[in-house]
Amino acid sequence: MRKIKVALENIVDEIKDFYDYKLWHFLTINGVALEDNKLEVQWIFSKYEALDDVMVYYVECDYKDLIPSVVEIIPSAIISQREIIDMFGVKVEGSEKGLYLDEDSLQAPLSGCSI
Amino acid sequence: MTQILLILAPIFFALIVLGTNVSVRNIFTIVFVTLLAVVSLMNFISFDIPIEISTPHYFHSIFVFLDFLLLMYFFWQGVVKKNSYVSLFALIQIILYAVVLILTPSLMSSDILVDKVSSIMYLVINIIGGIIIIYALKYIESEDFTRFKKNAFIALLFLFLSVMNFIVSTNNIEVFFLLFELTTLFSYILIAYRKDETSLLNALQALWMNQIGGVAILLALIVSITQYETVYFDILIKNIDTAYLLPIVLLVIAAFVKGASIPFDKWLLGAMVAPTPVSAILHSATMVKIAPYLMLKLAPAMSGFVSVTVTLIGTFVFFTASLLALSKDYFKEILGLSTIALLALMMSLAAVGTPEAIEACLVLIVFHAISKALLFFQAGILEKSFHLKYVNDINGLINHSPLVVFFILIGFASLTLPPFGVFIAKFMAIESLSNEIVKNPLYAFALVFIALGSVFLTLLYFKVVTKLFAKDVDAKARHVEISAYYTVPSAILVIFLVLGIYISFDLNLLSGAEIIVPVILIAVVPLLFATLLFKNAHRVKEYNCGEKDEIKLSMYYFHMPKYIQKAIIITAILGMWILVIGVLI
């Protein structure tokens, strides 16, 4: 597992440069709640037909930050983006909430601050 | 002499109607229509032997004069409206007619010959046509015309009846030609009655297409005079030589044109832009009924190759027109295509020529007229009272007007289901064709076409009917009041349909039990059960997989690719050519 830290505003360019759709398999977008109301967002890729080669790009950001969308580069990221909106209560460009949660259920359950 | 009365009286009525105000016109019209109906009924009852009436010689000169006048008018219209087809065909007709006048036939007969078929046609024309005129009284009021033009519309319809009455009484092919052209003229005027662009275009289309029929009749006249020395139907048919059937075939083609069979179907569909009473009168009582009538007249002369080919073409058109109708959405267009289909069936039945088939054809003519008139009335009501034209929009009409739904349901049911007349006719058609297969296995194809076509028609009708039923329980029912001028004619037609069940008994085709038991069982028992069972019923939502979303519903849409449509037209034209060339060989 290789982890590369990127600044939030560069993430789309970084992924655009890196991502070759016939070489890398996009796994998912992952969020991890950090202390001090910070959030780590990871974009996880694995290499086709390679032994244990996982690449993780991550950013550290606030919950208020608008996370840029990678749907134009990776069409299938749309559902991961919707999930992260539901789970952390963040905003992602061009994605809507309501994948899992209803109006009256607990909002943003995984975010560190809401509990 | 009632026949002469039927021909002349409508002209007189038309003149009277022209100059009156609304209420007087309405009362007069109703009285006149009743008179015509009574006269035609008397004629039907008192009729015993074929009546022959000879006309004075100067009549002939008048007809020639009128003919030229008419053709000139067509030519002029073609020039003014810049439609080269119209002028071209008018010109051809003028030349051909001149040729006809030069040739002199030697065998003579009486000009007017009224037989059983004619008297039945009188009934259809005068009673159904009359009811349509009554219906038109209200319909035309809601149009944006001047009072004179409204009156003229009614007057034209009366004139139309007169021409139709004449056409089914005449024995002279020359006179027949004139009247044929006159109906063309009336259809031209009536289709273009709204004077907008599409109406005019479609009117011109109807004009030139119908003139093809005129050309065919003239050619038939020439051949008939040179070969058989006569211009009279009865002599032509009596003297016909099975080896030389060309005049018959040409007249058959004229019938196909008037009957809007597939290569010539455009004009009848174009006629939909006219006010609905015009569609009704064209489809049910007048105009197109010339086609099966002509066929019936020619039936004794047809044999062998011609009979089989015409039957095959007719049944093929029956099948394909019903198929084409499946892909349509415009209510009147669906009705129009189904008319084309049923007309083709009538013609092919006439061509089969056995007594059974002819009987079936007559039953079909009568009941088709009633059902179609009823349905066109409803189309008009939908248009005027509900502002609906497309079948897809009539969803849940039962919420708003159960009466209209009932009429439409009866109309469609009478075209497909026992024990109504059209069903009986189809039944007889299949029976008569089954008898014929043994003689010529090609009739098997005709039979398959009929079977497929009637299934398609059933499919078509119920595709429409089902739309009416999709009832939304929660919707606030908004009842729409419908004028008595609309409902009463419809109701009369329904009464005719119900009375027509009598014919099912009369023909001895089915036993009484077969007709009555289903009616009673189907109508009464379920209601009994329902009243018993509804008492402790609960009302629930429709099953929607547990979801609450609004459901969008739509009926099955048949997509008819262009190439299939072309293939159908090419096949039909090919059939016509085979007919002509086959006869020539």
Binding site: D102, E103 | D474, H538
Partner: protein
């Protein structure tokens, strides 16, 4: 009078709804229909249509999104009907008890007649449960059974009871209580 009650027992048609289980029990319900266990010997047909069902097999603790569907399906079933909760999580919430998007067991929403334990409930247990349900079905009346959290009561008009608006909103009802 000739009693028809005993025939209910011989022809139970089932409706299956997954209200958020791990689909272990659903597979076992499917396995019950398979040749080895063959529920059809009791006359069971898996209709999949609430309007023709007698036994409502529910699996899973009720998740928030499936609550309204559960109640709607329940009200669309004609009486007499029996609800069978299949699996531990359906009975009491099981391992999902107290999770934030889960209601602990379906008996918070609808009256349950038979509880089948097990994780996942094995086919034998499901058959036991269905057999138990049949006995209950025989004794049931045709009285209308109302789900506990029905938002709108059924109304009667012209002698016909309407159940159309049964499961409108559940959240509002909670607030009232």
């Amino acid at each position: 009078m000739f009693s028809l009650n005993k025939y209910r027992k011989k022809s139970p048609w089932i409706l299956h709804y997954n209200a958020g289980s791990c689909n272990g029990c659903d597979i076992e319900i499917l396995a019950c229909l398979s040749p080895k266990y063959d529920l059809e010997r009791f006359g069971v047909i898996n209709t999949g249509n609430p309007k023709q069902s007698d036994i409502f097999l529910v699996t899973g603790p009720v998740t928030f999104r499936s609550r309204e569907r559960l109640i709607e399906l329940y009200t669309q079933m004609p009486e007499p009907k029996v609800v069978v909760a299949v699996g531990s999580c359906t009975c009491t919430g099981g391992v999902f008890r107290d999770m934030y998007n889960v209601e602990d067991g379906i008996d918070i929403y609808i009256p349950v007649d038979v509880y089948i334990p097990g994780c996942a409930a094995s086919p034998e247990l499901i058959i036991d449960g269905v057999v138990q349900a049949l006995d209950i079905l025989e004794k049931k009346t045709k009285e209308m059974e109302i789900p506990f959290k029905l938002f709108k009561e059924a109304t009667t008009k012209k002698g016909i009871t309407s159940r159309r608006e049964s499961a409108l909103k559940i959240g509002e009802n909670d607030e009232k209580n």
